[in-house]
């Protein structure tokens, strides 16, 4: 193919100002980054980024998102960047904020205001740590009763759930090694549960442990993995599936170690 032919293929219908295109690129890429870091599904991220670009009149945009990488190219303007995501955590508040931004852009938000919004999104308020820990305890107590546990076991299940959340949150802050925090959390949960049953009023150690590890267990991740695969994102699906099974192995290993020792 000659050079002229290539240029006619790549030339956009309407030529936009280069500065404007770069701003749109910035907004798209950062929205995708925030969404991926907040645990959104990859097909939704691709959809949001594409829609944002199209709303500002930029066509021929290619996005590729896996669970750790975003590649965004605006082919008409020869712009392309790759972003690696190191940490991911479920943060639904940010997902809502980016969704609101995307909706405003559809209604015609000027690009400079969109940039301002993007720059304030990372300041979204989180629930305080004590509330998150208590929520972990409540979840575990509820699951104990859903699994037909006895009333006597409620305190230890709630304590185990709180301990699990506390340990995972605090280890996550200091190390980057995955699956380690789940291992330690389930180890201590199992330790206290076995002690409570052997030397205390506890009744059913199996039910206590399964209820207490419930906040850590990757149930949502497994379901999301399969949803990604059904949508045709095989790569993201298999990655999430592998992550889920490794997390489950880490939890199982922590508990199993206690059962072998005691």
């Amino acid at each position: 193919m000659s050079v002229e032919a290539l240029e006619t293929v790549d030339k956009p219908d309407v030529s936009l100002d280069d500065k404007f295109v770069r701003k749109v690129f910035y907004v798209c890429l950062n929205s995708g980054k925030i969404l991926l870091e907040s645990g959104a599904e990859t097909y939704r991220i691709e959809d949001t980024m594409l829609r944002m670009a199209n709303n500002y009149g930029i066509g021929n945009v290619q996005v590729f998102v896996t669970t750790t990488v975003i590649i965004l190219s605006m082919n008409d303007y020869a712009l392309s960047q790759t972003i690696r995501i190191e940490e991911r955590a479920n943060n639904l508040e940010k997902v809502v904020n980016i969704n609101d931004l995307s909706r405003q852009i559809t209604k015609g938000l000027p690009i400079d205001e969109a940039i301002e919004t993007i720059e304030t999104i990372h300041e979204t308020k989180m629930f305080p740590l004590w509330l998150v820990i208590i929520a972990g305890g409540i979840v575990s107590a509820m699951f104990l009763l859903l699994f037909n546990g006895t009333i006597v076991d409620i305190p230890i299940a709630a304590f185990g759930g709180m301990l699990g959340v506390l340990i995972t949150e605090s280890i996550q802050r200091y190390t980057k090694i995955k699956f380690f925090n789940e291992f330690f959390a389930s180890f201590f949960i199992a330790l206290f549960s076995v002690l409570y049953v052997n030397y205390g009023p506890g009744v059913n150690v199996e039910t206590i442990i399964i209820a207490a590890v419930m906040p850590l267990v990757p149930g949502v991740l497994i379901t999301n993995a399969i949803r990604e695969m059904i949508r045709g994102h095989m790569l993201a699906g298999t990655m999430k599936g592998a992550e889920a099974s490794l997390t489950a192995i880490a939890i199982g290993a922590g508990v199993g170690l206690i059962f072998m020792l005691m």
Binding site: I138, G219, V220, T223, A225, G252, A253, V255
Partner: protein, 153 residues
């Protein structure tokens, strides 16, 4: 009475996960409700005698429908309510049981649990996606009919 009790339990389990996932405050109650309704359908289905995958499928359909309604009402993406709501249905405990059996070298039990995890999570995913498909189909149909109406007028 048991049904009421189950509703309360699954509501707080889902809402608690809403806090763990840092869901916006205004969506937490709705997430809990979708979780409770999904779970009660699952519970009744298993009481009648349905297998876990079928019951999960039915539960997922109901909770997705509730989530879609709440997302319209509260103007937040559906995924928020679904993520909170599938918590009681999701086979996290079974996955943990499977892996613990692996670690304890009880491979036959592990295999049984593993297949259950695969089937149940597949059923939930199918339930969610089919409900979403039906919803988007209905939206498209509505729009088409409206356009037709406009053209004729």
């Amino acid at each position: 009475m048991t049904y009421f009790f189950q509703l309360i339990l699954s509501f707080f389990a889902s809402a608690g996960f809403g806090v763990l996932f840092n869901a916006p405050r205004r969506t937490i109650v709705a997430g809990g409700i979708s979780g409770a309704l999904g779970w009660i359908v699952y519970y009744i289905a298993t009481e009648i005698g349905a297998e876990a995958p079928i019951a999960s499928f039915l539960g997922a359909i109901v909770l997705t429908a509730v989530s879609i309604l709440s997302s319209r009402k509260l103007r937040a993406p559906v995924i928020i309510f679904i993520t909170c709501g599938i918590i009681p249905l999701v086979p996290g405990g079974t996955a943990y049981n499977a892996m613990r059996s692996v670690v304890m070298t009880q491979y036959d039990i592990a295999l049984a649990y593993g297949f259950q995890v695969a089937l149940v999570s597949m059923a939930i995913a199918m339930g969610i996606i089919s409900t979403e498909m039906i919803d988007s189909l209905m939206q498209t149909l509505k729009r088409e009919v409206k356009n037709l109406w406009k053209k004729e007028a």
